[in-house]
Amino acid sequence: MNIDQIKQKLQTNIFGDKLFYYEEVDSTNARTLQLAREGAPEGTVVLTDFQKKGKGRLNRTWFAPKGENLLVSVLLRPEQEITAVQKITLAMANIVLEVLDKHLKSESKTREAHTISLKWPNDVLIDHKKVAGILSESILKEKHIEALVIGFGINLNTPVKQMPDEIKATTISLIDILGKPVNRERFLCELLLLLEKHYTSLERSNYKNVVKQWKKHCPDIGQKIIITTPGGQETGTFQDINKFGYLVYQTDDGIRKELNAGEIRKA
């Protein structure tokens, strides 16, 4: 990563004002949480070229070869209540989708040939394959948010053919679409700029329009899905996202349920 180039291009007011770059780090989220505990301000950004323990949900690993993709975490300190703020995970997916869309529009003549969509709660897909993962972690004291860290892993320059076999069928990278490398510094600056703009309005509007916006890009509503939680697995029909951001589905037995934490995939 060329940090000088980032500092030159960055048009934000506070996001990235404090920017920490590590050639290697255990995980950008873990490092950002540590900085948060040491009193780092909102908008602190942690960037790396390689994560030694890049993580996904429930300690899954995040694959990213050195120096090819975007691995970045941002520290937020929201003022609103956690039950409203938790929808931020959906909002972040909306933002990544917007950045990808802008990038494809400016860099590809075939933008219309590709679909960018969302999978609950916050995977971003191009042509139904995962291009970005977002893992958010917070520190709560009672109901007060001390810190909220959003970690983004975005596949930019690692072509699918170089990905591990087990994820090849379900993963995609921007380079596969564009046929040329993505300028990571520019992509990051676009992401941070949109993040700052939207986060300010999210906090002001108490996360009001997040669900409505998110639903516009989810093709799974109305579809059969398989739901996996620590309690087991079941199939049902994806019906809606409720105002809290939960996935509403109807089981094959006709029971209406709300999913707050878990995984879904197409049946």
Partner: protein, 172 residues
Amino acid sequence: MDLKQIRQLIKMVDDSKIDALEIEEESYKIKITKNRDDSKSNNKPVVMEYPIYSAQGQIPQQIQHQPPAGGTPPAETKATPTAKETDQDSSENLYEVRSPMVGTFYRAPAPDADPYVEVGDSIAVGQTLCIVEAMKLMNEIESEVGGKIRKVLVENAQPVEYNQVLFLVEKT
């Protein structure tokens, strides 16, 4: 809740021997307490109402009864404490750590990791006790108090409700 209902509640508390009433519903939380400083002349209730953002449809109504601070105490409290009262005394020292949201409760940072805390562990203010996950947001819950873990009330990877008690901590 409208003003008329609040007035009725105030009167109810005023006329009763309880000195605090707390009700929590989806869209509001109300707390009425009697003034304890001057129990003889100015024992009027104080009302506080503030909105809460609940993450679920139904929240059980909570009414807390506390022993009256002023006026004539019930006769038996003058006598030697009974076993029941001793329990009450120790429970006053117990702090309830509650879930700030609907979600899934995890006792450890990862499926193969050791739990953050076990029963009997001494904990400090700010120490992480557990994770509650909601919508791929992993929330580390820190302790507000220092003390000793007396009970862990939820099994690992179980769903939890808003305000559900997760731990009992004996305060030091």
